[in-house]
């Protein structure tokens, strides 16, 4: 197996494991997230549910906003670029960002390719809905994978679907013979050695978080129990009735996902969660963006 594409970035992702990464749109929200125990914040102009409501073209946030959020906290700061938008990524690297999310939540910029992430020192996290997609991103240099789910919906079902699918596909590699593996590698446009490596490891070679529709501490615990290594919470915190308390509860639930009594305690009297959307009625499915 080839050496990893971005070993230092993969190491940073390892340090985030078992933690919650929270979307924030202001420096004040970033401080609330840090105080609640977030391991990182995702700095952006609009949370996914507002991007949905707002419509139009969603782009990288103004670097001034990202810089302000960076200044407010000591935890690592991430920011999003459009799929395939290498120039936006270069701007964020010049801003000294800790991690770039090449995200389907923004409007894709390249209909053919994702960013070639190998020349960058800054690490990238990318979304995936299945094993082939995850391995294409890793082969392009992603240092971390997050299952996509359906962002901004407050509906956890797609996050569960993508996580379970990837874990099952990894297990299924074990029973494939050489020919089946070769076919899978060709159809999914991934190198055979990477596929064999994953078959042997029985996990992705980079850290895998989950994302998209996580609205309650119980949602976070559900996904950790299925096998996520950590959680991204986008709209779920700052659209809830009590963001500080919800954020804190998400952090506790992600760490202590096996402890039912603790989950009961942190889930009690949280106030109204985000309202949520039915996925079947969505005009845009963000999870379908990416190739």
């Amino acid at each position: 197996m080839k050496p990893s594409r971005n070993p230092l970035g993969e190491d940073l992702a390892r340090m985030l494991k078992g933690g919650v990464i929270m979307d924030v749109v202001t420096a004040e929200q970033a401080k609330i997230a840090e105080k609640a125990g977030a391991v990182s914040v995702m700095a952006l102009e609009r949370i996914p549910s507002d991007i949905r409501a707002h419509g139009g073209i969603a782009r990288m946030s103004d670097p001034a906003l990202i810089a302000k959020i960076k200044k407010a906290v000591t935890i690592p700061v991430m920011a999003k670029v459009r799929i395939g938008h290498t120039a936006e990524a270069r701007i964020l690297e010049a801003l000294n960002i800790d991690f770039i999310d090449e995200s389907e939540v923004l409007t894709p910029a390249d209909p053919f390719h994702h960013i070639d992430k190998r020349p960058f020192k800054v690490p990238f996290v990318c979304g995936a809905t299945n094993l082939g997609e995850a391995l294409r991103r890793i082969n392009e240099g992603a240092a971390m994978i997050r299952t996509k789910g359906e962002a901004g919906t407050g509906n956890v079902v797609e996050a569960v679907r993508h996580l379970k699918l990837i874990l099952r596909e990894i297990r299924d590699l074990q029973s494939m013979n050489g020919r089946a593996l070769k076919t899978f590698a060709r159809e999914q446009r991934i190198p055979m050695d990477l596929l064999k490596h994953v078959r042997k490891l029985q996990k992705l070679p980079v850290v895998m978080f989950t994302a998209g529709g996580i609205a309650t501490p119980a949602d976070a615990a559900l996904l950790m129990d299925i096998g996520a290594e950590g959680v991204f919470v986008g709209s779920g915190i700052f659209t809830s009735e009590n963001p500080a308390k919800t954020a804190r509860a998400m952090v506790e639930a992600t760490t202590h996902f096996q402890d039912s009594r603790l989950l009961l305690k942190v889930s009690t009297n949280l106030g109204e969660a985000m309202s949520g959307l039915d996925i079947a009625s969505l005009p845009v499915k963000m999870q379908e963006r990416g190739w």
Binding site: G37, I75, N96
Partner: protein, 188 residues
């Protein structure tokens, strides 16, 4: 001997992996009951602010201090673990630490992720072969007080220290699959 790895957040499985390589039984520690079952504790890398909060809410904070004072709990901290052991922490938004190790540490003093680096450092107590480590948004040990022995330096800055049964490193040997520092920890 059973070794616990504090499993509130961070690179827990990497430490378990190293311990498995040394054929030592290791367990996750998330509660005071878990802690009662282990002879030694590793505090992994991660975000010190998050781990500090979770230490306090889980009741482990007081328990770890009590066990260590009774001299029944050697502790090894890497990166965030070193911050959480330090008596004095410099910088803003500093987390509450266990304050068991007489050092001053500056969080994220090496900069952002773009300043992270891999290095081979000389650790005389481990022999002549250099130790491969990663510095990931690493903290800098800016002062060491009485009783603290410096086991390794990088560019004239201490990066690995020991005080009695506490071992702390600003960098990560565990992500480089280095087993020798853990082996050393198991003997102290």
């Amino acid at each position: 001997m059973t070794v616990g790895v504090l499993a509130l957040q961070g690179d827990v499985s990497e430490h378990h992996e190293v311990l498995r390589g040394l054929r030592v039984a290791s367990f996750d520690v998330r509660t005071p009951a878990d802690l009662a079952g282990v002879d030694r504790l590793i505090i992994p890398g991660g975000e010190s602010t998050a781990i500090s909060l979770l230490l306090q809410s889980s009741g482990l904070f007081q328990e770890i201090i009590a066990r260590h004072i009774k001299r029944t709990l050697p502790i090894f901290g890497t990166c965030a673990g070193a911050i959480l052991l330090a008596k004095r922490i410099e910088g803003t938004n500093t987390p509450k630490s266990l304050a068991l190790l007489n050092i001053t540490i500056d969080r994220n003093a090496y900069g952002t992720q773009l300043d992270s680096f891999e290095e081979r450092i000389s650790v005389p107590v481990l022999g002549r072969k250099l130790l491969r480590v990663s510095f990931i948004r690493a903290p800098k040990i800016t002062a060491t007080g009485e009783g603290v022995e410096i086991l390794a330096m990088h560019k004239k800055v201490p990066v690995l220290v020991r005080q009695g049964s506490i071992l702390a490193s600003a960098c990560h040997p565990e992500v480089q699959c280095e087993i020798r520092l853990h082996e050393y920890f198991l003997k102290i």
